[in-house]
């Protein structure tokens, strides 16, 4: 196991400020405290080379988990091992094993050119020159960094910066990579190239990757295993298919346009109770669950009605995830 976390919990104490001027003055003297359970009893094990998509709504505890796994935050309860060591106790040793990208924060030196940052990281991690050159060449080439490598970071666009960030996080050949919303705010092109890059290093270098994102396309394309966290607790841990079959009921649909006006749409008896019909004039959408086969449904429809623009949809990850978040 590369990552082993058991019974992980993190509480935050929040000092509440009173309302208005009087309240503020009061809270200067004595502030009310509130304990927030950001993460409760999270168990997460990851094998070497695994890529896990860690998803959940805002404030679910994703970042807090990542920060505990990477040794930045001390867990209130539970234990963490990354590559066999406690990342909190052996912070410096752990640092050599892990890399991280936090989409909202930068690890590059704001005023220095990208290439300079890379060189500083080389020295900081004592990366042998040969390996450093090989990595930099490969990353620069693959992520197209060369074009802006000599510009100070503050002048880069977000897309350029994020490409530099992910390259920077991998220069020292970490065994584990934490990606906390690496694609946030990026355009489609950059997203695609980031995804390709993540896929590539996961495959070629067998880097274990934990990825959080709100972009479900990222998850669909990258993660074989998905862990869903909500209200600080793991709600699901398994494959995409399992997730779909567990939560996708009623999330399949057939949409079409009728070619003539029909007063009412009727479907075979045996399908009763397993579908709902939404209709607006000639536009029809039939939602159905796993008991009804889309092809049977269409055959039944075609026998009775004249249709066009038929659109068959399987479970959409957005719907599935919304369902999980709600539950």
């Amino acid at each position: 196991m590369v990552i082993e976390a058991s019974g992980l919990a993190k509480d935050y104490v929040i000092h509440l400020k009173g309302k208005g001027l009087m309240g503020m003055a009061k809270s200067l003297l004595r502030s009310e405290k509130k304990v927030v359970h950001a993460v409760q009893d999270v168990n997460l094990n990851m094998e070497e080379g695994e890529l896990v998509g860690y998803i959940g709504p805002n404030g679910a505890g994703k970042s807090t988990t990542i920060k505990m796994l990477s040794g930045i935050l001390t867990p209130t309860k539970g234990s963490v091992r990354v590559c066999g060591i406690d990342p909190q106790k052996k912070r410096i040793q752990n640092a050599m094993n892990v890399g991280a990208v936090f989409g909202q924060k930068t690890q590059l030196w704001w005023d220095l050119p990208v290439r300079e940052t890379f060189d500083l990281l080389r020295r900081m991690y004592n990366i042998p020159m040969e390996r450093y050159k090989r990595n930099v060449d490969e990353f620069m080439d693959y992520l197209d960094i060369g074009a802006f490598a000599e510009q100070p970071v503050r002048q880069l666009s977000l897309g350029q910066r994020m490409r530099a960030e992910i390259a920077a996080s991998l220069l020292h050949d970490p065994k584990v990579l934490f990606l906390d919303e690496p694609t946030i705010g990026l355009d489609v092109n950059v997203k695609v190239s980031m995804r390709e890059f993540v896929k590539k290093i996961n495959k070629e270098r067998n880097v274990t990757i934990l990825l959080t994102t709100h972009d479900l396309q990222d998850i669909e394309e990258l993660a074989k295993r998905i862990v869903v966290i909500n209200h600080g607790q793991v709600g699901f841990d398994g494959s995409m298919e399992e997730l779909a079959s567990k939560y996708a009921d009623g999330k399949r649909s057939v949409s079409f346009t009728l070619q003539q006006d029909v007063p009412e749409i009727t479907l075979p008896e045996k399908m009763a109770g397993h579908y709902t019909i939404e209709r607006e004039g000639r536009q029809v959408k039939i939602r159905h669950d796993g008991h009804v086969n889309a092809s049977d449904l269409i055959v039944a429809l075609i026998q009775k009605y004249r249709l066009k623009d038929i659109d068959i949809r399987g479970p959409q990850i957005e719907d599935v995830v919304m369902e999980v978040y709600r539950s």
């Binding site: 990477s70 935050l73 001390t74 991280a100 989409g103 909202q104 220095l112 100070p152």
Partner: protein, 273 residues
């Protein structure tokens, strides 16, 4: 896999050179600072010149001595860089949340901040030397170190004073972990250090009870002691003893800063996302 000494130095040198390069980017700010400090020193000079028009010595300090004390202590002050203090980067890191990356680097946090601070200090030393040379041309009263040996001891004394100052700043910076914003604390620290270090008024000129308080506190080791050594107010023996005391304080404060860091990361809560 244990790293060698050279590898360790190279690691921290990365922070040193990063900071030096960043300082280079802000050359304009550096000259601005230079100007502001220059004006401040000129004002202080004018005040003391007026004071000495009324009397010839104060607490054993005659006019040329006072001029020397003032300029040397201000130069020392600038080497430490009260403006480019060590705590501002820390409180920025905490406010912006980029502290996460500092905790992910394979380096000791306080040591890395020291390396960074030394990067800025290169500029500060340059500035102090420039300032002293400039004033020397216009003010013949400003004298050099009282002897070659005093000059050498002065360099050691300033280095020890630098470490004490650094640890004080780091500790005040680390308090941002609890306070989130340490602007007020920083100003309080600057005021306290300025006064108790003897950067404003030579400590011998103060009432006796105050001198007693200051002798117990570590702050006089920051500015007052190096300046007195420079001026030859301390004999060689006394100078060596003072430097010994400075080293004691430097070590004690350094350990305190490290201890405070250990406490701080245990309660770190990272802002935003």
């Amino acid at each position: 896999m244990r790293e060698t000494g050279i590898q360790t130095i190279r690691k921290y040198y990365a922070f040193f050179s990063a900071n030096l390069q960043e300082a280079m980017v802000y050359r304009f700010a550096f000259f601005n600072n230079f100007l502001a400090e220059l004006i401040k020193v000129c004002v202080m000079l004018a005040v003391w010149m007026a004071v000495y028009r009324q009397r010839s010595t104060i607490a054993g300090f005659d006019y040329p001595m006072m001029i020397t004390y003032l300029l040397v202590s201000q130069a020392v002050n600038n080497i430490y860089g009260f403006r480019n203090d060590a705590e501002r980067p820390i409180s920025n890191k905490i406010r912006k949340g980029t502290i996460v990356f500092d905790l992910l680097r394979p380096v000791k946090f306080v040591n890395a901040r020291l390396a960074e601070n030394l990067g800025q200090t290169v500029f500060q030393v340059l500035f102090a030397v420039l300032m002293m040379t400039g004033f020397h041309i216009f003010l013949p009263e400003l004298s050099g170190p009282s002897s070659g040996l005093h000059g050498i001891l002065f360099v050691f004394s300033v280095s020890a004073g630098f470490l004490i100052m650094f640890s004080v700043s780091i500790m005040s910076g680390l308090l941002s972990f609890w306070l989130m914003n340490n602007w007020g604390l920083r100003n309080a620290k600057a005021a306290i250090v300025n006064f108790f270090s003897g950067a404003l008024v030579p400590i011998v000129m103060l009432p006796e009870w105050m001198q007693k308080v200051m002798n117990i506190l570590p702050f006089k080791n920051i500015v007052y002691v190096p300046t007195m050594i420079y001026m030859g107010q301390y004999g060689i023996r006394e100078s060596l003893l003072s430097i010994g005391i400075q080293i004691f304080w430097a070590a004690a404060m350094w350990l305190m800063a490290k201890g405070l860091f250990r406490l701080a990361i245990r309660r770190v809560s990272v802002n935003g996302g």
